[in-house]
């Protein structure tokens, strides 16, 4: 595991440690605030995040996402619990060890960009290298490379305020990537952008990830965004993680009412795949293979096929072997489930 969170708590208020010991599982966040004046921002979070994964944390405003992600590099000090990165306990690190971790291993992209307005784009990108003491020429080259990577070639000598929001966030991303971190923390990086730009940036991030294979922890309050980019999604409510799973798992099997609320408006045909709804069989006698239907094909693409053909169709995995069958009935049931739960 790349990153492990063990029993992480964060309580804001005058005496958090003391409050921590008095909290019982049945106490709600609102009660605790009313009774003690303490804000329970993060509550007993346990997560394991694998290397190379895009792990999305999603939840409504105020659910504690920003607090949680900041506990990872101790920008906010957790009240209780352990953060383990690459097998090392971050929570017990001293100042200089922590600084080294932030300089080389963990990097961050912010919702409102957090760019330095007095520095040119290239100087912003080179900031992380600069404070590591990398020589000027070297860091300039490196920053230039990264700028090209995020598609900002030629903008290096501008100031951030001369760029559009989307471009500014590219700078934010470039700044985080410039130090070549293993782990990228993104706190709602695309929330401040308008929808079209946001979609571009999501695609851009996915493309970059294919090449770079970082471990990315990505916060959002937009479920569609979570579905689109997340390998796995954790859903947070009032500081608690209520469900963790792949997008399909969450859609097909929501843990509670809160999660169901989220998935309500999701166009299921675009998220559900043949793999997640098919009837699993290993051998299909008497059918010729129907090429082109993979486990990752979305229902949206399947609908024309099942509409045209009456019989069941075979579903293949990446290797080309048949793993299940699908027919009109299965597809319609999967799409109808949405209505059935309401």
């Amino acid at each position: 595991m790349k990153v492990q969170l063990k029993n992480i708590w964060k309580i804001f208020g005058p005496s958090p440690k003391h409050i921590l010991n008095t909290i019982e599982a049945s106490n709600s966040r609102a009660d605790i605030l009313a009774d003690t004046g303490h804000v329970l921002a993060v509550r007993q979070v346990n997560l394991d995040i694998a290397a190379g994964e895009i792990f999305v944390v999603m939840g409504l405003s105020g659910s504690g996402k920003s607090t949680l992600i900041r506990c990872l590099s101790r920008l906010i000090e957790p009240t209780e619990g352990q953060v383990i990165i690459n097998g090392r306990d971050v929570t017990t690190m001293n100042e200089s060890q922590l600084r080294e971790l932030r300089r080389h291993t963990v990097s961050m992209v912010f919702q409102r960009f957090g760019l330095f307005p007095h520095r040119r784009v290239i100087e912003n990108v080179a900031y992380g290298l600069e404070i590591q003491g990398v020589p000027a020429a070297e860091r300039r080259d490196k920053a230039q490379q990264i700028l090209e990577l995020v598609g900002l070639n030629g903008w290096g000598d501008h100031f951030p305020h001369e760029l559009s929001g989307g471009m500014q966030q590219r700078v934010g991303l470039a700044r985080a990537l410039a130090v070549d971190p293993e782990i990228l923390l993104c706190d709602e990086p695309f929330s401040a952008l308008d929808p079209l730009i946001r979609r571009d940036m999501q695609n851009e991030l996915l493309n970059l990830q294919q090449a770079l294979q970082k471990t990315i922890i990505f916060i959002t309050h937009d479920f569609l965004e979570a579905l689109k980019i997340g390998d796995r999604i954790a859903i947070m409510k009032d500081g608690l993680i209520v469900q963790v799973g792949t997008p399909q798992e969450i859609i097909t099997n929501p843990a509670d009412e809160y999660v169901r609320e989220f998935i309500q408006d999701v166009p299921r045909s675009r998220v559900l795949t043949a793999g997640s709804v098919m009837k699993a069989v290993s051998e299909i006698p008497g059918f010729s293979k129907n090429p082109g239907i993979l486990t990752t094909t979305t229902l949206q693409d399947l609908i024309p096929l099942v509409a045209a053909l009456d019989g069941p169709l075979a579903v293949e995995d990446e290797t080309g072997s048949v793993v299940g069958i699908i027919n009109r009935e299965i597809v319609m049931m999967a799409l109808a489930e949405q209505g059935a739960t309401e």
């Binding site: 932030r102 961050m108 957090g114 330095f116 007095h118 590591q132 130090v179």
Partner: protein, 692 residues
């Protein structure tokens, strides 16, 4: 909400029965005063006798200056070092042939901000030369430079420190607040006590006086750096030091540079007063000329000070932009303040300059075309060099050693002539009883003297205590009430009661006039954009003029004394009431105005029932500032013979009776604090009332 307003209404009820008590006490005292005449005057026998110990101390200082360790190891070395540096800079500036100085200024201004600033700066310097005040100007410039550099050298680090430590901020804040309340004059006293009268003490007074804005604005700028920038810096593993140097200071730069600008302007505003304790330079010229009633010379030197103020102000503003943007932006910098943008003639002027600048650029480019190609990359440098040489050449022709007499702009003689003409012809116009003379006499005989007499001799001193106490009580602050009464008592105990009442009376008259002029003008300006645009540059200009310079033209008309002080006070102090009345009304919420309109209010009703009440906090703040400025000016007018506490300080200096200056200085501080705290409390009360 209900539970909140309940205790408030009871506390108001508690205060109400206070007024009958005050009124009956007042009546009783007035009656008593009629029966027991001694009650009028503050009892002499209560004097705590501050004067002698201080004079004693001063004598001790004079005797022990060469022997006591405190002087030998601390004050003298400090004084010597400072004196050495000042002399070094001064001698250098005086040694430098004047055309070289001009070219140096021209060059650095060109470097920082381009041709516009370069032309302005050299024009200003040239004017100083034309007034025949080159040497005095260089002396002042030397003193300014050193004082400002030291003030910034102390102030910026202190500001950084106080931004990073709550403890330091907590300790510094009351000191800075107090420093802002204390009128300029008082700064001179302790300095003279330890350093005597010379160039060094005036530098020290200047440094101390100019220090607060550097500290305040540095600290403010750093504290205002947005949290997300700091978080980003943290997230990348910056050390505290890196965060400070790479993020906080650069991002606070606009604020720090505003502090630098204010520090310079503060230093310049004390320049005439510093002459009182031996600074030399332009201030000295003004002071001596005024004492000899050579109004023309005083006006020349006063103008030179204003010109220097403009030069330093524009220069430091440009420097600020330069250090923030990090590059010379030739056309970005406007000569006139940015706030004036949109005023007809200002835009016209700036556009004209733009045109001129573009023309020069075109010409130089065309000339550049003629250069042989290997020299082309150096086109700019070469052209600029040629320009400087040409400039130098012209100036060299007209004389190097001292500013050429031929260029003198003799304004002192015509001014003197004008002054004597005015004294003859305006003093009394025919037999009409009109003119400046009768006006002055009227003010003095009918208003100042009776008022001072009324406050000191007719009204028993306890009544004044009571009135001030009641004014403080009315704001609902007990501690303030007690403090105010104690401070006033202390003024009496130092034997300064009657002088303080004289000063108070003059301040009162000035403030009343300011309010009568300022509030209507402010309202008018808030109604009419034309008026607003018309008066904005005038108000700005009035605020750029160093405080003392106001007195010079006024003296031309009214001679020296309290009346000159009054008129200068009004000119100087009227600015904040106008400005804050205007601002307060303009900031009234548009939706509230619309709803007033919807009920069919007339324009007058809207003004009186909605706008003025809502602008009241702002107006009160303006009045507070006006009072403090009027007080400062009334005191400074002591230099030209206006009676009261200011004159006491001056005479203490002049007669080697420092104890007297100390007593008067202390009384000034106390009076200023009393008035400031009461009006401030009233302004806050008005703000609270407007919020409810």
């Amino acid at each position: 909400m209900a539970s909140l307003s309940f205790p408030k209404s009871t506390s108001k009820r508690k205060i109400k029965p206070f007024w009958p008590v005050v009124v009956s006490l007042l009546l009783l005292l007035l009656l008593g005063a009629a029966v027991i005449p001694e009650l009028d005057l503050f009892p002499e026998s209560w004097n705590i006798g501050l004067r002698e110990p201080f004079n004693e101390f001063k004598r001790w200082v004079v005797i022990n200056r060469t022997t006591h360790w405190m002087f030998v190891f601390f004050f003298e070395p400090l004084s010597n070092a400072l004196d050495f540096i000042i002399r070094l800079v001064e001698n250098f500036l005086l040694w430098l042939p004047w055309p070289v100085t001009m070219v140096l200024f021209f060059w650095s201004a060109h470097k920082i901000s381009g041709l516009r600033l370069a032309l302005l700066v050299s024009g200003c310097l040239f004017l100083m030369g034309m007034f025949g005040l080159w040497e005095a100007s260089m002396q002042t410039l030397a003193l300014m430079t050193i004082s400002v550099v030291i003030a910034l050298g102390l102030g910026i680090p202190l500001g950084i420190w106080s931004a990073r430590s709550e403890r330091v901020e907590w300790m510094l804040r009351p000191v800075l607040d107090a420093m802002q309340t204390v009128p300029i004059f008082v700064y001179l006293i302790p300095v003279v006590l330890f350093f005597g009268i010379a160039r060094v003490p005036s530098a020290i007074a200047t440094i101390v006086y100019a220090l607060p804005p550097a500290i305040r604005l540095t600290s403010l700028g750093i504290r205002r750096v947005p949290a997300d920038a700091l978080e980003a810096a943290d997230a990348f593993g910056s050390t505290d030091r890196q965060k400070l140097i790479k993020v906080q200071i650069p991002m606070a730069m606009p604020s720090i540079m505003a502090g630098v600008n204010q520090t310079i302007m503060m230093a310049l505003s004390i320049v005439v007063l510093a002459a009182l304790i031996g600074s030399g330079g332009l201030g000295d010229v003004v002071l001596k000329a005024l004492r000899r009633l050579q109004v023309g010379v005083a006006l020349e030197a006063g103008l030179a000070i204003v010109v220097m103020a403009i030069l330093l102000d524009r220069f430091s503003v440009a420097l600020g932009q330069f250090s923030v943007i990090n590059q010379a932006s030739f056309r970005g910098f406007r000569l006139l303040p940015d706030r004036w943008r949109g005023i007809g003639w200002v835009d016209w002027f700036e556009n004209g300059l733009d045109g001129l600048y573009r023309w020069i650029e075109r010409m130089t480019n065309r000339l550049g075309q003629l250069l042989p190609s290997p020299l082309k990359p150096y086109q700019d440098a070469l052209l600029f060099g040629a320009f400087c040489l040409f400039f130098l050449f012209i100036l060299l022709l007209s004389g190097v050693d001292s500013f050429p007499e031929g260029l003198n702009l003799e304004i002192s003689r015509p001014v003197d002539a004008l002054v004597s003409w005015m004294q003859v012809n305006l003093y009394e116009i025919g037999n009409t009883g009109l003119g400046t003379g009768p006006f002055r006499d009227f003010l003095i005989i009918r208003i100042f003297l009776p008022l001072a007499d009324f406050l000191t001799n007719v009204v028993p001193w306890p009544v004044i205590l009571l009135v001030f106490g009641a004014a403080a009580w009315q704001t609902g602050r007990r501690r303030l009430t007690v403090g105010v009464i104690l401070m006033l008592l202390l003024i009496g105990l130092t034997g300064m009661w009657s002088f303080a009442m004289d000063t108070l009376g003059q301040t009162l008259v000035a403030v009343i006039i300011c309010v009568l002029i300022g509030i209507p003008l402010g309202i008018w300006a808030s109604r009419s954009n034309t008026v607003d645009r018309l008066i904005r540059p005038i108000l700005d200009f009035l605020q750029t003029i160093p405080i003392f310079v106001y007195l010079v033209p006024v003296i031309m008309l009214f001679g020296s004394g309290s009346v000159a002080g009054l008129i200068a006070s009004v000119l100087y102090a009227v600015v904040p009431v106008i400005r804050l009345t205007n601002l307060g009304i303009r900031q009234v919420d548009q939706t509230i105005l619309e709803s007033a309109e919807a009920f069919g209010s007339t324009s007058w009703q809207r003004l009186l029932k909605v706008e003025v009440p809502l602008a009241a906090p702002s107006i009160m703040l303006g009045i507070n500032q006006t009072i403090m400025m009027a007080l400062a000016m009334v005191i400074i007018a002591g230099l030209v013979g206006a009676t009261g506490l200011g004159l006491e300080v001056v005479q203490g200096f002049a007669n080697n009776n420092l104890g007297r200056s100390v007593e008067a200085g202390l009384a000034i501080v106390l009076l200023a604090m009393v008035i400031d705290r009461i009006t401030e409390a009233w302004a806050e009360k008005a703000a609270q009332a407007a919020n409810l």
